[in-house]
Amino acid sequence: MDYTRLSDETLLRLIARSQENALGELYDRYSRLVYSVAFNTLSDAGRAEEVTQDVFERVWEKARTYSVEHGRVVTWLTSIARHRSIDLYRQFRSHHEDLQIAWQEAESMDMPDPQNVEWEVDLLQRQQRIRRAVSQLPDDQKRALAMAFFQGLSHPQIAEALGEPLGTVKTRIRLGMQKLRSLLREEQPL
């Protein structure tokens, strides 16, 4: 069976039936993404590797409990990776460091290949849209969003870490998210 042509949801169904090759394929698709979420939160390669293995072990154990109500498979994976990473971050960091998030430059992106199967085209298009949108945000908005999303910090914690007024941080986050939403809406495929 050519697992590379199967959808994420089909792979999960096979993983639920203990098919190791299906887990291997899901890992090949998303381990870079999962590892990057963990590494950007933890800034520690060893712990990011630990989170990556942990996320896919959970998928192996819990695949049968997945349903489309959890959202896309990739969202499910990054959600597990993010929460696990934030949990480790809270355990091992005594203070909040200024986060250096490696946002992908919008101009250096892979283009969908005619040989790509449906899941690849969908993923690449979504990556391109969000990367273009994020690249249009001012740096201070990107930083505040990243500290909330990847470090799990609250508005007051971000304000304290950046030495900025609370209202300024709230405004940055609100404007940043609203701008991303409107940019992504403009780019939605018809």
Partner: protein, 242 residues
């Protein structure tokens, strides 16, 4: 219009989808979303943005050994090479011992009886020590988890402790149970855990202060990895006597 605008929680929704709200703000949003279709629609749009944020990261691959370790970890332990060697060893041993079996059997019974007596005495001492030294707080299930129960077992000074729970429902992969230690109404996280298929788990609690400083303990259902403050349903709780 201005009244309606003031009523909506639109300004808090970006912080809500990023988990950046304070407990008080979070309570307002959760309550409002249950009754307001307008904010619910806006929340879903913002949540879709937040869901895609990881895709904007520069991606790099983990080392190949992570996949190797993963695939090794998920495989059930297969028959080991030593099994054959052990079998032939036992066969040879059995051949040597067979003529002496009655005498060896009697000797073994005597040894087992002696060991049992010693173990029983040791167990009694341990139980006695446990009764006199360890502090145990019973934790009971709420109405939504009436079958669940647990105990917080603390050292004699009430500084450290381990939580043991049983009969809790196994959660979907995106959620975990989170322990909250409560002092003067303020809640701090004591850790997160998942239960096994029978509903059992144990967790060594992590707290900024000795456990006896807290008034009560509660357990809620939270997103995987835990929340800054309780957001989900409470499933277990109990007071910590001083």
């Amino acid at each position: 219009m201005s009244i309606e605008r003031g009523y909506h929680v639109t300004d808090l929704l970006p912080g809500y989808v990023l988990d950046a709200l304070t407990d008080e703000e979070l309570g307002q949003v959760v309550e409002h979303l249950t009754v307001c279709a307008t904010c619910q629609a806006e929340y879903q749009q913002l949540q879709a943005v937040a869901d895609d944020l990881p895709l904007a990261l520069t991606q790099s691959a983990p080392p190949p050994r992570v996949k190797t370790d993963l695939m090794r970890a998920i495989r059930p332990a297969g028959p080991r090479l030593e099994t054959t060697r052990q079998a032939s060893f036992w066969q040879r041993l059995s051949g040597v011992l067979q003529p002496r079996l009655p005498a060896i059997g009697l000797a073994l019974i005597a040894v087992i009886a002696l060991v049992n007596v010693l173990l029983w005495r040791q167990l009694s001492l341990v139980n006695q020590e446990a009764r006199t030294n360890l502090r145990v707080v019973n934790i009971t299930g709420t109405t939504i988890s009436a079958e669940a129960h647990g105990a917080l077992v603390m050292d004699p000074n009430g500084k450290y402790g381990t939580l043991v729970v049983d009969n809790l429902a196994e959660l979907d992969p995106a959620h975990q149970y989170q322990v909250w230690l409560i002092q003067d109404g303020k809640r701090v996280s004591g850790g997160v855990f998942s239960v096994n298929p029978t509903g059992y788990a144990s967790l060594e609690l992590q707290a900024p202060q000795p456990l006896l400083k807290y008034d009560a303990i509660g357990i809620t259902i939270e997103p995987f990895g835990g929340s800054p403050g309780p957001t989900g349903a409470k499933v277990l709780g109990g007071d910590i006597p001083q």
